[in-house]
């Protein structure tokens, strides 16, 4: 394990108004590693992942306590540039949310808002990103069609392509495969394998098999708390806690 984590959260508490959704979460994410966040629905996985790029800032009643570091920099520091942070920490949302624009423009969006003007460069990057997200073959003849005409699974892959196009340092994926068929899922998993050479990846998943296949580390959440965190292999073969074992093996009540 590399000595210095890319991202760290320490003593993280999160509130929606009076409701505490996260309680004292301590986690480390390392470069060139995939970390899977697992846990039952409503345990706070999305809430947690959305803290890492400050997406929860948009929810007016929310409140964060504790610290999250990105390369030693506190991302909740008032002086921090949130736009810059989000350029470095990309995100694929649980629900596909393509813009009402063409497939091409969706993929190029991040580049355009980052001030890239070079047409050839954008063209190449769009193609490359769509290929990596296993969508290129299906859309290469209709890049100018609206993205809203794509199926749910295609939309999700488009959102992955869109996030890849800006080459973030950390990639947050909230159940990226929930709307995908087995073939597309497999392609996405291969992609994650490939991307992990370059990025730090954090992925929320409901599929234990997927967590086991793609991740190096696994974090198990339950009711807003981090229950167990460790090496995926160890966690799936010899979990420390009974609760973790029950969830992983599907005996969870």
């Amino acid at each position: 394990m590399s000595p210095k984590p890319k991202m760290t959260s320490s003593n993280l508490d999160f509130y929606y108004g009076d409701f505490q959704a996260l309680q004292d979460v301590n986690l480390e994410f390392h470069e060139r590693q995939v970390t899977a966040l697992i846990g039952p629905s409503g345990c706070g996985k999305s809430t947690y992942i959305r803290c890492l790029n400050r997406m929860n800032d948009l929810i007016p009643i929310s409140r964060v306590e504790g610290r999250i570091l990105l390369d030693d920099e506190d991302i909740y520091e008032p002086s921090l540039d949130v736009v810059m942070l989000r350029r470095r920490v990309g995100m694929v949302f649980q629900k596909p949310n393509p813009f009402p624009k063409s497939i091409f423009e969706n993929t190029a969006y991040g580049l355009r808002v980052n001030g890239v003007k070079d047409k050839g460069f954008i063209q190449n990057r769009v193609e490359e990103s769509l290929k990596r997200a296993a969508l290129w073959d299906e859309v290469k003849d209709r890049l100018d069609d609206t993205a809203l005409g794509l199926s749910g699974g295609q939309q999700q892959r488009l959102c992955i392509a869109r996030a890849l196009a800006v080459e973030p340092e950390v990639l947050l994926m909230d159940e990226p495969a929930s709307a995908l068929d087995p073939i597309a899922t497999q392609k996405i998993e291969e992609l994650i394998h490939e991307l992990k050479e370059l990025y730090t990846i954090i992925i929320v998943t409901h599929s234990m098999q997927q967590a086991a296949r793609v991740s190096d580390m696994t974090a198990f959440f339950y009711m807003g708390k981090l229950i167990e965190f460790g090496d995926t292999d160890t966690m799936f073969t010899r979990p420390k806690l009974k609760q973790t074992e029950d969830y992983i093996t599907g005996r969870f009540g």
């Binding site: 948009l58 813009f99 991040g110 808002v113 609206t146 939309q155």
Partner: protein, 297 residues
């Protein structure tokens, strides 16, 4: 049992059908009346001379029934008022939906909507006694009752419509789209300009057109502040006489079923065609840009 329920259902359906039918019938009757009272004028003047004739002297002898100056007046007043109302209305809507804090929005929004509750005669009065003398002084013009003044007052009247409907359209853009844009490193402004506005453009266009159709049909305000001169305006400070103002001002003095009376109804037909066009365009835009797919909710 079953029969009873079925007949009750049929009865309900009939009642609702007749209620819906009644309002359509009334609308139809009004239209028939409008055309019956308006069309006879075309026995006196040709459609072309009526629409494009430069002189509106309905009471002189022989009378002139050219409404071109009135049409120009209505069109220019409406156009100038939308120059004021569209930017103000849409920008206020963006501010309310995207930028204002909840507390500010809660105060500003009802205030803007209250503007719609002001009776038009009050706005006209304000234009007459406050704005007109002010314009006269500042621009050193013979009268403050003119095209500019009425455009300004009409803008006041259409801003609430434009703002309120645009705000609804902007507000209903799925938060997921906004998050998607911000997550790619877009700023708030880039998100508004590149994602939120395009996603709500159909609603905003509808709002603008409905606001403008309100302005073109508005009578009291233009009657009070437009100045009433039936001539083609030479500048934005010329007094004008828009279509509805002519009808309202002259109807009482026009002899029943005389040529003048018919001409005023024919003006009503022209006005009707204008607002109908506005509404058709609004419908067309709403359909053309309507989003498809589940992600557009």
């Amino acid at each position: 049992m079953r029969n009873k329920r079925q007949s009750a259902e049929k009865l309900m359906q009939r009642i609702f059908f007749s209620i819906a039918g009644a309002s359509i019938a009334i609308l139809f009757l009004i239209m028939v009346f409008l055309f019956m009272e308006g069309l006879p004028i075309f026995g006196v003047v040709s459609v072309g001379d009526f629409l494009f004739g430069h002189y509106w002297y309905p009471t002189s002898d022989p009378p002139d029934f050219g409404i071109f100056p009135l049409i120009i007046a209505s069109v220019s007043v409406t156009a100038l008022s939308s120059v004021f109302a569209i930017p103000l209305g849409v920008m206020t809507a963006i501010y309310l939906a995207e930028l204002a804090s909840k507390r500010v929005a809660e105060i500003v929004k009802p205030t803007v909507e209250l503007l719609a509750a002001l009776p038009s005669v009050v706005i006209g009065f304000f234009g007459m006694v406050v704005v007109a003398p002010f314009l006269q002084d500042v621009f050193d013009i013979p009268t403050g009752l003119n095209l500019f003044n009425s455009a300004l007052m009409l803008a006041f009247m259409s801003i609430p419509t434009i703002c309120s409907l645009s705000e609804d359209a902007i507000y209903s853009v799925s938060p997921g789209l906004k998050e998607g844009s911000l997550a790619l490193g877009a700023t708030r402004w880039e998100t508004i300009l590149r994602v939120i506005l395009p996603a709500s453009i159909s609603g905003i266009s509808t709002a603008v057109i409905l606001g403008m159709s309100r302005a073109i049909g508005e009578t009291m305000v233009v009657l009070m502040v437009a100045g009433g001169a039936g001539m083609i305006p030479e500048s934005i400070f010329s007094p004008v006489r828009p279509l509805p103002a002519s009808i309202a001002a002259e109807m009482a003095e026009a002899p029943f079923r005389g040529d003048h009376y018919y001409a005023l109804f024919a003006i009503g037909i022209v006005l009707f065609v204008f607002t109908l066009l506005f509404n058709l365009v609004a419908d067309f835009i709403a359909h053309k840009y309507r989003q498809v797919g589940e992600a557009s909710l």
